[in-house]
Amino acid sequence: MNNILEIKNLTKSYNDFKLNKVNLEIPAGYIMGLIGPNGAGKTTIIKSIMNLIKPDSGKIKIFNKKLENNEENIKQNIGFVYENEYFDETLTGEKMKNIIKLFYKNWEDSKFYKYCEIFKIDTKKRIQELSKGMKRKLALAIAFSHNPKLVILDEPTSGLDPVFRNNLMKNLMEIIEDGEASILYSTHIISDLEKIGDYITYINNGNIVLSEEKDILLEKYKLIKGKNKYIEKLKPTLIAYKKSKYNFKAIIRCKPDKITQEYKEVIIEKPKLEDFMIILNKE
């Protein structure tokens, strides 16, 4: 399959943190969710893709081209939204757009205005007069207006209401509808990805813990809850567990029937993505 993004053995060390040999692939036409707790390394990965930091080692290919030799060309086709906006806030949305569009060959004003209408952005207002949510929406409208083949979103919906988040999911599905563009979506608001994500990569402490098709994750793995006294016996079959005073919760990947037969007092449920994040998180 044709990959939009390929990361191999990406490593970057800081004093107190190391991104450790990260591998990631997104085929054309799909959405990859990057999930993990704060400080797990999500933003370090994204900054490496955008060439904002220099990795210690590893390779990044975007649109089948090496990032280091083709940065200009590659960035023409990337739409990105960071956690914080970097606008000149004294300008109006309209003026900001007129500056940014100069950088993109494929810019389409009609698309920009379409998104402004959907998002209800007043482009005549100075950016400093816009609410935090509105600024974020403006950043999204800008990111979507030059027909990007790769959309990179870093916590795009934090602070946005559920109605908008739901509409945004529709916009993202439109972007990948022709099968040519892909989306890398980093977040800890996991419910967004539970619906539309094709692949999920879970990262913790700079290491990729899981990277799978979402459907496989939710189907092949089960959430199991039970009494603490069973934990020692079950341990070999558990991928990870969290113990509390009264019970434990764990993730397993095997036929749960066997376990329910042997241990009557366990509950087995379909996991949510959030369960993976909580149980796999090692403090």
Binding site: G29, Y30, I31, N166, M169, K170, M173, E174, I176, E177, D178, G179, E194, K195, I196, G197, D198, Y199, E213, K214, D215, L218, E219, K270
Partner: protein, 127 residues
């Protein structure tokens, strides 16, 4: 065609989509040779992942209910419908015979048996 998706159901989403399209085909609600929406358009409209939708279509294809013409799209298969229904009905009858046999051994009367089926039928609907 209506497709409802339950997130709390134990049934995986691809199966929910597959079953509902299947029902629509078998009931004649969508007729032979009708073009189904593309995988990506359906995924967008249902707000579910492309991979999930792909799997639903693949399963329908495996059962011979739809056919994909490369570069053109997916269509409801022709002719197969009646054959398919007949085959499935035979299968259900066979299984029922076996179950009835066992029910008789237990001394279950036909009305008791039918009541049991009714209850289970309703439970399955709730799933």
């Amino acid at each position: 065609m209506d497709i409802l998706i339950s997130n709390s159901s134990e049934k995986p989403i691809y199966k929910q989509v597959k079953n509902q399209i299947k029902e629509n085909i078998l009931s004649g609600n969508i007729t032979e040779n009708t073009k189904l929406p593309s995988i990506r358009t359906l995924a967008k409209d249902l707000q579910i992942s492309v991979i999930t939708t792909k799997r639903a279509y693949k399963e329908l294809e495996k059962e011979g209910l739809v056919e994909t013409v490369k570069g053109k799209g997916t269509y409801v298969a022709s002719k197969n419908k009646e054959l398919y229904r007949e085959k499935k009905l035979n299968l259900i009858e066979e299984k029922l015979f076996k179950i009835i046999e066992e029910a008789k051994i237990l001394g279950l009367k036909s009305n008791e048996f039918i009541d049991l089926v009714k209850i289970l039928y309703q439970e399955e609907d709730k799933k």
